[in-house]
Amino acid sequence: MRETFSTDDLQPAAGGGLLHRRVLLKAGLILASAGAAQPALAAAGKKPAVESDLAHPSWTREPGQPFTNYGLPSKHEAAVMRSVGANHDVPGNGVSWTPLESLEGILTPAGLHFERHHNGVPAIDPAQHRLVIHGLVKQPLMFTVESLLRYPMTSHLIFVECGGNSNAGWHQEPIQRPVGSFHGLVSCSEWTGVPLSILLDEAGLDPKALWAVAEGADAMLMNVSIPVEKLMKDCIVALYQNGERIRPENGYPLRLIAPGWEGVLNVKWLRRIQLTDQPVMARNETAKYTELLPSGRSRMFTFVVDAKSLLTSPSCGQSLSGPSVYELKGLAWSGRGRIAMVEVSADGGASWTRAQLQDPVLPRCFTRFRAAWKWDGQPAVLKSRATDETGYVQPERAALVAERGRHGYFHYNAIVSWGVDAEGKVSHVYA
């Protein structure tokens, strides 16, 4: 039996009313959650104006809908969608964000996985799609999709994060948007496919092959270089996402998956891998995804994603309905491995206490964390701080800006701060 919660457990473990994470393991404590700010949702749960018979709604008496060949979310969840930020003149050039604030657990539904396209989603006929492996190999090879489906496969439960995610964090003023529309160029899926090492072994690597150039079949043939060591270690040619064939916008029929490395390397619509002795220095590894630093010089090949975390609830745009004990919940991830610890603060980072990590805690995968917070109705600033298994600690924004300046544009991973005002409204702040 679980230990029962007692009022002693309401003794704060850190400033601003944060409780010890053990309370989450006890029975009897009911936690409130921050809600969406929309009035319609705030009213949910209140009794409707016209009293209906809640004990006998129509669906308990009349036959329901017939079977469907492919299920869709409830029409009552229609507001949960990706928000799109695209170029007006070319709708296929831009991004769409995962609504992190509306999701729970660690897996992103395929239809809500973030997108970054340069020139739309190609309408690929899998029968006419090929993967060519050439360059510094003994035998150049061309694979059909059909043939790749016959190779042994493996799965990785991993996040993919765009190198440009969270870039509004560099702005001088905190942007006011739902967390997903600011940090939602990251999603987490189960990717299944053929270990690339098998295919490269079949082609026979030349010892001089230290790099590879991977290319996608979109209307700009997006190409990018990646070290062969990584390809041989854990990259896969993915065919499946969350159990089904990859969605067109996520790379159908083939996607290169490079666990823990920035999004652009996870080449969608993969069609060609050229083995080389040096990188090609394409636009997307020089002009983009490089960080201009205060010295006026730029870091390139910033492949591994630094540890990062954020609270998805409460989060910007939500509101708290008065003093109570609230559940804080969020996501943490690191391209270097497992999340070792997440700490939370309710006083703007003056004091911290550990959050509870929810199983499973997997390397290069979203980790869900939770904490309990007794809010007394005073203004507060909520933060979370991730530490990964290599000992990397997510930096405060001031420390990151001091190190990198504000013009790096890419790879922003600083601690995220949510301000709660006396009315319970949550906004994005720097603190």
Binding site: M81, V84, G85, A86, N87, G94, V95, V132, I133, H134, P140, L141, M142, F143, L148, R150, A168, P174, I175, Q176, R177, S181, I198, D201, E215, A219, L221, M222, N223, Q274, A282, R283, T286, A287, L292, S295, G296, S298, R299, T302, D306, G317, E343, D347, G349, S351, W352, V381, T387, Y392, V393, Q394, P395, Y409, S417, G419, S427, H428, V429, A431
Partner: protein
């Protein structure tokens, strides 16, 4: 276990024994690709010149091509129309408060420009330039950025490597393990971490509509 399930297991065992030696080698389901086939696929161009196609063009020729095939988006002088990318300018701004990262001020190699245009431009009709057009338009972009001064300079696979971009030395490989060593720490503060907490907040209103009317710029 039911009888039929047992039978299936036995069958699988039998198959794997039979298949064992065969799968230990290669599946070998890829078809060999010939150099001619690969030539049609491989359009990468590298800084050392590998991949440069045979062809020739000058900035003067490139200007004409640019005006008909590129200027409607990038502007007559590469200044960028509406939200389309700017293709010139920004020289010497990389240390300033508003760095202007263009192909002239930021990109490291002329090959990066040609590789990109060859893969992706003109936007909406990619891979439609002839090799001569490709050299010509690249020469014009270099002229717009004051890198090629003579409009009649013949850019081709032989002269290409003589063209250097100013920011070639401006990049270095990921060094976070050393330069950001301070972020690996065992002493992350737990209490009394700050004397006072300064809060900067409340900029603009919450405005995210699913129709994509808003959104920070993402390159």
């Amino acid at each position: 276990m039911s009888k039929s399930a047992k039978a299936v297991c036995t069958l699988i065992a039998a198959i794997s024994i039979l298949a064992g030696p065969a799968t230990a080698g290669k599946l070998g389901l890829g078809q060999s690709a010939t150099p001619v086939e690969i030539a049609a696929w491989d359009i990468d161009i590298r800084p050392d010149g590998q991949g440069l196609p045979k062809g020739n063009g000058t900035a003067a020729q490139g200007e004409e091509i640019f005006q008909t095939r590129c200027a409607m988006c990038h502007g007559e002088f590469g200044e960028g129309k509406d939200k389309w990318p700017v293709l010139a300018g920004g020289a010497g701004t990389l240390k300033e408060d508003r760095p202007d990262k263009t192909i002239g001020s930021y990109w490291p190699y002329a090959s990066t420009i040609m590789d990109y245009v060859r893969h992706a431009m003109p936007f909406g009709n990619a891979q439609s330039l002839t090799n001569d057009d490709l050299y010509a338009v690249t020469a014009y972009l270099l002229q717009l950025n004051d890198i090629i001064k003579d409009p009649n300079f013949a850019l081709n696979e032989k002269t290409f490597l003589s063209v250097k971009l100013p920011n070639e030395g401006g990049f270095y490989e990921d060094d976070r393990d050393t330069s950001e060593k301070q972020f690996w720490r065992k002493d992350a503060c737990m209490k009394d971490c700050k004397k006072s907490v300064e809060v900067t907040g409340h900029a603009s209103v919450v405005d995210v509509t699913p129709d994509g009317k808003s959104g920070p710029k993402v390159d």
